[in-house]
Amino acid sequence: MTVLDPPQSTARRWLGHVARHRVAATLGFLVLFPLIVPYEALAANILVLGLYALGFNLLFGYTGLLSFGHAAFLGSGAYGCGIALVHFGVGWFGAILIGTALATLVAAVIGFLAIRTRGIYFAMVTLALSMCVYYAFYQMEPLTGGENGLRGVNLQTIGVFGFQLSFLNPTVKYYVLLAFVGVAIWLFSRLLASPFGAVLEAVRENENRARACGYDVAATKLVAFVISGAFCGLAGALNALHLSIVPIETLHYTTSGQVVMMALLGGMGTFFGPFVGAATFLLLQDVLSVLTQHWQLYVGIVFILFVLFFPRGIWGSLLDRFGPR
């Protein structure tokens, strides 16, 4: 391939290397990330919500399905983890697994219903069903804390291979979260490179053609939906540990909308896009909310401009301009 290519610009060659070693590149960047971000809590926010956007991107960017209900998975992951810790005294690692499993289950149910509809219905049905999850958790006050959110998800220290690490130290916390996010990124990359990843792309590119090839498109979408939900559920569980609380807003429509914005801003269907998008969104929010209480106005305008003029997002546009071909 490289033999046939015309001489490449430095930028193109550099991006080519990054694309070939995408897991290493992402992890390398995320390891150094806290050093360049104003404060560690923000870095951890970007890390966890970047994972959320990554999971969402599997569906939106790689399978071509626009879900407006992913808050349900972030939220049930967070509540699952939090409830296991607070009410059942499960250890932190088990709690993360329980949160992820709960989100996977919720994704299977919502996915099963949403896949039955076609095309344009999908966004509407996922939105409606996620609102249903929101109200359900809202009602279960004894377990979820209802309107006030689930409080007391306090993790002082965690034991890793016999070492006691202080989870209160923001730097330690960041790198513990990164360990989980790193494994998820690696799994995600494997998944995209697998034969199954190829089927997802085929479904996104041309559903009818994929069907004519003999692929069960509905089943493929459902599997993608459930896996996407699992990644988002892990992000939710990590977020519960990170914030020490699960606000009810985690399940709200706006949280679903937030990940759509992140994915589009960063560049849907690109590997780095979700983290770029999460960083852009959260930095924008961080800066604007200091200046004005109406920061959502500017976020909305930026988003509209991207939809109209840069639908490939920041990373996608960079790839178009300088990317390896």
Binding site: L66, I120, L127, A128, A136, Q139, L297, F303, V307, L308
Partner: protein, 294 residues
């Protein structure tokens, strides 16, 4: 079941119909826009909210609710025209997700603009004096305003039905909902039709905002839950079907009213259960046509 006297059930049924009336109007607008443009208007709830605020503002200014009822649909529809012409239109041909994403972003802008103009908190609003009080409807006293709401919805639905079934423009809309190619073959500028339909759909959303304002007051976020509920109605009724929107809207209203009587803690969740049931049994909706979604 036995614990509730039949009069109470009947009252709750009428309450459900009044609630359903708002859903009917919202779903009709959504459905109309979708049927013609294949655009899911995620800003529909925001148009509804803007209409409600405009209605409250105009009423405060003029003291005449009728002014709100007439001016708001026109004004909100006008905003809809501008949105379609300058924001949505450039996105046709780029796939169904882009108009949806754009209207989603737009709803943020609408909400924040209203917050800037009217403050972060909502405003209380009660029915105009003429429509306050209750009347005896045979089974008991029922709030006059809710009856007005049902009647107003019936008028709008009837007018719209006549417009679509009996006018030349309506004929084009019906043909276009079936197949945009037909309209093009007839030598009609499809983009003009789309523009007008978007204006009508958003205008009706604005009107339903005015009508809903006296029920619970207005707040910048009021469009969010109602958007989800309008989606449920559209899915239950079948996208692109006027009759479906009416039946499903009333059905959803009644389901909400009844569950809030029997199991209040389930009231919010019940309509989603209804939607899930419809998806399982009849994925295209009660009145939806096969093949419309492509």
């Amino acid at each position: 079941m036995m614990a509730f006297p039949p009069e109470l059930l009947a009252m709750q049924l009428v309450t459900g119909l009044a609630l359903g009336a708002v859903y009917v109007l919202l779903a009709i607008g959504l459905s109309l826009i979708f049927g013609m443009l294949t655009v899911v208007n995620f800003a529909h709830g925001a148009f509804f909210m803007v209409g409600a605020y405009m209605g409250v503002f105009l009423y405060g200014l003029t003291g005449n609710f009728l002014v709100s009822l007439v001016v708001v649909p026109l004004a909100v529809g006008g905003i809809g025209l501008v949105v379609e012409r300058f924001l949505v239109r450039p996105l046709y041909g780029r796939g169904i997700d882009y108009p949806l994403l754009l209207t989603f972003g737009l709803s943020y802008v609408f909400i924040e603009v209203v917050r800037i103009l009217f403050g972060l908190n909502g405003l209380p609003f009660s029915p105009p004096e003429m429509l306050q009080g209750a009347v005896d409807i045979g089974i008991g006293y029922f709030p006059l305003y809710r009856l007005f709401l049902i009647a107003a919805t019936a008028v709008v639905v009837l007018a719209l039905w006549l417009f679509i079934e009996r006018t030349a423009f309506g004929l084009v809309i019906r043909a276009g909902a079936r197949d945009p190619e037909i309209v093009r073959v007839l030598g009609i500028d499809v983009s003009k039709i789309w523009l007008v339909v978007f204006g009508i759909g958003t205008g009706i959303a604005g009107l339903s905002g005015v009508l809903a304002a006296p029920l619970q007051g207005v707040a910048p976020e009021m469009g969010v839950p109602i958007l989800a509920e309008a989606f449920v109605v559209t899915v239950v009724g079948g996208m692109g079907s006027l009759v479906g929107a009416v039946i499903a809207g009333l059905l959803v209203g009644v389901v909400v009213a009844m569950t809030s009587l029997f199991a209040p803690e389930m009231a919010k969740v019940s309509i989603f259960a209804l939607m899930a049931l419809v998806l399982l049994v009849r994925p295209r909706g009660l009145m939806g046509r096969a093949g419309l979604m492509g």
